[in-house]
């Protein structure tokens, strides 16, 4: 059963899937990896992004990826708002560890149930020209519904990386992550910077959601299986390193695909956590961490 053909395809499928996982994780890499906010509701926001893509695609026929892009400013603003609430309630009073976690846990549930009440639990799908088509290179299959999200996700990761390293605001975010007090002493307002970072993280969720629904059908509680994957990726990648996040995501996708093909798909959910556990035991700083 072990053939070069099967192996090659499993590898390619894993890389494509992993690339998509990076889109989900990159927002969390900023929010959790860099500014230390445990937004466990991030995958739930990704699902909201998926539903928005579904809405506009089914009503007007817009391409889901374009919808995702268009939704990013809206998500950004919402992220800023959410951070303000979080800051006022928790960060200012120093309660963030336990209460902050529980706060986002609650937000996650509110999102999920609101989606259920609005759209029911039926699976939603989108239609686009490239969904269903496949390129064939030799004996390797490249389904477009995986290839397009991979390409978009890689572009997104590259864009975020460029933003964080080249722009003023981006570098300010990295500075806040490293040393908040020093930043304050230099006259910058850490709250405004964190707010910007949180908005940015949430904006990526809009695009990630659109990619998710291109890959497969979506229903409100789908976010839960991504919590583990997203956090595993961020930790493995090195808590805030964007290239690290992308590499870690690809690794995770690869391992899941190989396990699924050769050991049986029923072990795949444990993979993310197996990887995480291994990382924390062997090199807690992650691959690219400091």
């Amino acid at each position: 059963m072990f053939s070069a053909d099967l192996l090659a395809n499993a590898v390619v499928a894993g890389v494509l899937l992993g690339g998509f996982y990076a889109a989900v994780a990159v927002g969390l890499a900023i929010v959790f990896g860099q500014i230390d906010i445990v937004n466990i509701a991030h995958p739930a926001f990704v699902i909201v992004g998926a539903y928005i893509a579904y809405l506009l695609n089914s009503r007007f026929g817009f391409d889901p990826v374009l919808v995702g892009l268009a939704a990013t400013p809206v998500f950004f603003l919402f992220g800023v708002l959410l951070y303000r609430i979080y800051f006022a309630a928790f960060e200012r009073t120093g309660q963030e560890s336990l209460s902050g976690l529980a706060f986002f846990f609650g937000v996650m549930f509110i999102i999920e149930v609101s989606l259920i009440m609005a759209y029911g639990v039926d699976y939603r799908l989108v239609q686009a020209e490239y969904i269903g088509q496949s390129w064939h290179v030799g004996y390797i299959d490249l389904p477009l519904r995986m290839l397009v999200p991979f390409a978009v996700s890689a572009t997104l990761a590259a864009g975020i990386y460029a933003y964080l390293t080249r722009t003023f605001m981006g570098r300010a975010i990295q500075a806040v992550a490293q040393d908040r007090v020093a930043l304050q002493l230099m006259g910058a307002n850490p709250v405004r910077i964190k707010q910007w970072a949180f908005g940015l993280g949430l904006a990526t969720a809009a695009l990630a959601g659109a990619l998710l629904i291109v890959i497969g059908p979506v229903e409100p509680s789908l976010g839960r299986v991504y919590i583990g994957r997203a956090f595993a990726i961020v930790v493995l990648g090195g808590m805030g390193s964007i290239p690290g996040t992308f590499v870690a995501a690809v690794i995770l996708g690869l391992v899941e695909s190989l396990v699924s093909t050769f050991a049986g798909p029923s072990w795949a959910p444990a993979v993310a956590f197996g990887v995480l556990a291994l990382t924390l035991a062997v090199r807690p700083a992650g691959l690219f961490g400091r």
Binding site: A13, V121, G132, T261, S266, P269
Partner: protein, 415 residues
Amino acid sequence: MKYARLFAGALAATVLTAFSAGAALAQAKPIKIGFSMALTGGLAGAGKAALIGMEIWRDDVNKHGGLLGRPVEFVYYDDATQPANVPALYTKLIDVDKVDLVVSSYGTNEIAPAMPIVMRKKMVFPALFGLAANEQFSYDRYFQIMPAGPSPQTDFSKGFFDLAAAQKPKPATLAIVAADAEFALNAAAGARKNAQAAGLKIVYDKTYPPSTTDFSPIVRAIQATGPDLVYVASYPPDSVGMVKAAHEVGLKAKMFGGGMVGLQYAAIQKNLGPLLNGIVNYDYWVPEKTLVFPGVNEFLAKYRVAAAGKGVDPYGHYLPPFAYAYLQVVQQSVEATKSLDQAKLADYMRKTTFDTVVGKVKFGRNGEWAKSRVLMVQFRNVQKDNLEQFVEAGKRIVVYPKEYQSGDFVYPYAK
């Protein structure tokens, strides 16, 4: 002028009669039928559709004078597809709300937790779609409306294998793939038994977690074993993923399908479109000429109106006719025995062949159907992006069993 007065008089008389009939009905104590239904959670899509079908039955019955001259009322709660909620809800229905009759929720996971309670209260329990839910309990007042037959586990996939065995040259190898969840695993177990009986060699036999998003690795692994037949037991999202992956990978099996839930739902049928062509899958009722039972088209027309805008399957071919039918069984039993006595009703249900919108229904061992009527349906000539094509006959050809066959079987599964 004369006609106007005549007309007014006739109108007044009709209104008065209707009012008095209504008033008489309203004054009689209602018969309460209690149940829990999955209106939220994983099975809510089907649960809500079933409820609509049940409400149509209730309205039909009340329009014709109710049951034993009394109006019928539903008392129901949402069990949220959580088995843990079911015991409390059924004890509330029976002990607090004091309903006269109970029926089940939808799905084995929601039926099983209610069994100990209805068994202790000795209530007749018509059940809606649970695969072999009574195997462990052997309760003699349980009646299952899913047409899976006396041995539900194997009867469910028997059609698929009988069809395969009839082909020349006879297929030799089989791949079984199932979602890691109750119904799919049961179906796969049945398929395994049928395969062994048919002497097929099983070359792939794995399960996958329901949260799987990408099915290409799975389909590719199946392809690598080169099976003649591929039997899939899956739930709606995975069914979609499997069909798409099969096309992307270019699956070369001779028969593909079997136990895929979701391919019966209008929204999924529309989304997959021509990707469905050639697939042989189970179904319980399709709008083919051989399945036009008395009352079913009228029911479906009413359903289409009631379901509009409610976010459920717009056509309701899968579950709602059976939801209507199992209440017809209740109705006919109550009217024939002229009582609400649980023992009498159970006896009547055990002996009688009922006439319902899904044809003749007779219960056998353990409350399952005496004779299986799981259909094997083949998709043909499905067009892209067209929802309405599924209302009519011609897209889902019944290829098994012979008495309901509406077309020839196309083999192998060519693309």
